[in-house]
Amino acid sequence: MPAALRAIEPAVEASPARPVLHARGVAKRFSNGTLAVTGVDLDLRAGEFVSLLGPSGCGKSTLLRLIAGLGEASAGRIDWPTTDHDSHGRPMRDVGFVFQEATLMPWATAQRNVMLPLILKRVPAKEAAARADAALEAVGLGSFLQAYPRELSGGMKMRVSIARALVTRPRLLLMDEPFAALDEITRQKLNDDLLALWARQRFTVLFVTHSVFESVYLSQRIVVMAARPGRVIADVATDAPFPRDASFRISPEYAAACRTVSAKLHEAIVS
C-alpha cells in the first residue's frame, strides 16, 4: 500500500522525460494589494498529468493564468526550457486552455469554434476545417460539426472546448476546473474520455480542481496548495497504473490515495 503512494518533497527523481516548464518563486500581487500566490515552485515534464488541488481562493486559477501568459508574475520566473523564443526573447508558449465554462462563441458552429485557434494562427481555412473535424471526432462529437453551442448539452459544450484546446496539438494543456459545473455522471464520463485522449496524444496536462477524488483519479502527481497567501504545500505522486477505469475508483489504492491527499488538503485549510 505505501508503494502506491509517496510524497516527494522536493521532487528529486531524475526523469528521462524532457522538462516543459520550470516555475521558481512565482508570486502575484494584484493591484488592490491582494497577494494571490507566493513562492510557487513547479516543474512539469513532457507527457505528465499533474493536478493543482486546493481550497477556493488559493490562487490555483491565478497560477494557471500566469503560466498561460495571461498576466505577468510580480516576482519569480516561469521558464520554458524546451520552447522556442521569439525575437524579443519571449517564450512562444504552446498551450491550450480550457476554462471552467465552455466559453464558446455562440454565433459559431462547433466546427467554427474549434477552427478558431488555427484561423488566428493563419492556417488555411480548408486545412483548419479538416483539423477541427478530426479534433471534434476525437472528443466524440463527429456528428455535431454544424451544431451551434445552444443546441448542445453542458457536457458536449465542454467537449467542444477541449477539442478547441487540443486542435493546435499544444505541448501543455491547461484546464481550469473544467468539469466543476457538470453533473457527476457526465463528469466521470469526461474524466475517462480525457484520460483516453491523453493516453493517445501524450500532451502534458496541468489540471486545476478542488475535488480530491477527481485529482486522484486523473493525475500522476497532485500539487496541493493552501490559501491566503496561495502557496504550494505538498507534491504527492500516485503510482497507480494507467489506463484507469471504473475499477480503479473502488480499489484500495484509490481509497488510500484519496485519504493521503485529503489529509494534505486539510493541512492546507487549517494552516
Binding site: 501568459g69 462563441m105 459559431a108 448542445l152 458536449m156
Partner: protein, 291 residues
Amino acid sequence: MTAIVKSHAGDGTDADALAPIVEQRRWLGLTVTTWQKILAPVAIGLLVLGLWELIVWKMAVPYYILPGPWRILQALVTDWKSLSGSLWITLQITGLALLAAVVLGALLSILFTQSKWLEMSLFPYAVILQVTPIVAIAPLIIIWVNDTLVSLLICAWIVAFFPILSNTILGLNSADHNLVNLFQLYGANRWQTLRYLRLPAALPYFLGGLRISGGLALIGAVVAEFVAGSGGTASGLAFRILEAGYQLKIPRMFAALVMVSGTGVLIFLVLSLVSYLLLRRWHESAVRREN
C-alpha cells in the same frame, strides 16, 4: 478510440440535448400561433374602424372635423398620385439618413472602442447632439444648408444616429471576458479580435439600435419637413399634411398621416425581419423555446 466515439450515446445527458421538435398544425404554411398573432390585432383594428365609421355617421360629424375611415380611404385612392410621390421623397430621406446613421454609427463606435481617448473626447458631443431637440436646431440647419433635401437629411440623420452609436459601443465592449483572454492566448491582433470576436458579439446590440433608428429616421425626416414648411416640387408627406391642413382637406391630411404611420410600421417590420434572419441560429432573442 471506439470508447470515445460511442461516448455521447450512453451518456444520458448528451442524448437529450436535442429536444424533440413538437410540430404544430399548419394552415396555409403558418402555424396556429402565428395566425393568432396576426388575426387578433387585425380583429381589434377592424372593430375600432367600424365603431369610428358608425360614430361619424350616427352623429353626423362634418368630414372637415373628423372624416370616417371610408372617406379617408377614398382620399387615399383619389390623391394617390401626388401622395405616393411625396411618400417616395420621405422614404428617400429616411432611407439615406438611416444608411448614413448605420455607416457613421458603426464606424465611429469601432473607432471609439479602439481608442479610449477618442471615445472620451467625442462621446459627450454625440450625447449633446442627441439630447438637443431636433425641432430647435432644424431651423438653423435649414438656414445654413442651401439644399432643402440635404438639410432634411441631416436632421433625420442626427435623430437616427445615436441609438446605433451607443448600442454598438455597448455591444463591442460586451464580448465574453474569457473569450477575450482566449484570443490573447493565441496571440490574436486587434483586427482579428475585432473581426472574429467583437463584431459578432456586437451584432445583436447593433440590430437593436437599428430597429430604434429606423423609426427615428422617419420621425426626424417628418419633423424637419414640418419645420422647413417649404413646398415646391420635392415635398414629402409632412408637407402634404401641412398643406391639407391649410386647405381644410382633412381626409387628405388623414390619408397622408396613415401613409406616414404605415411607413413606420413597415420599416420596423423589415428591420425586425433582418434582425431575426441574422440571429435566428444562435441568439436567445431570436430562438424559439419550448418549455
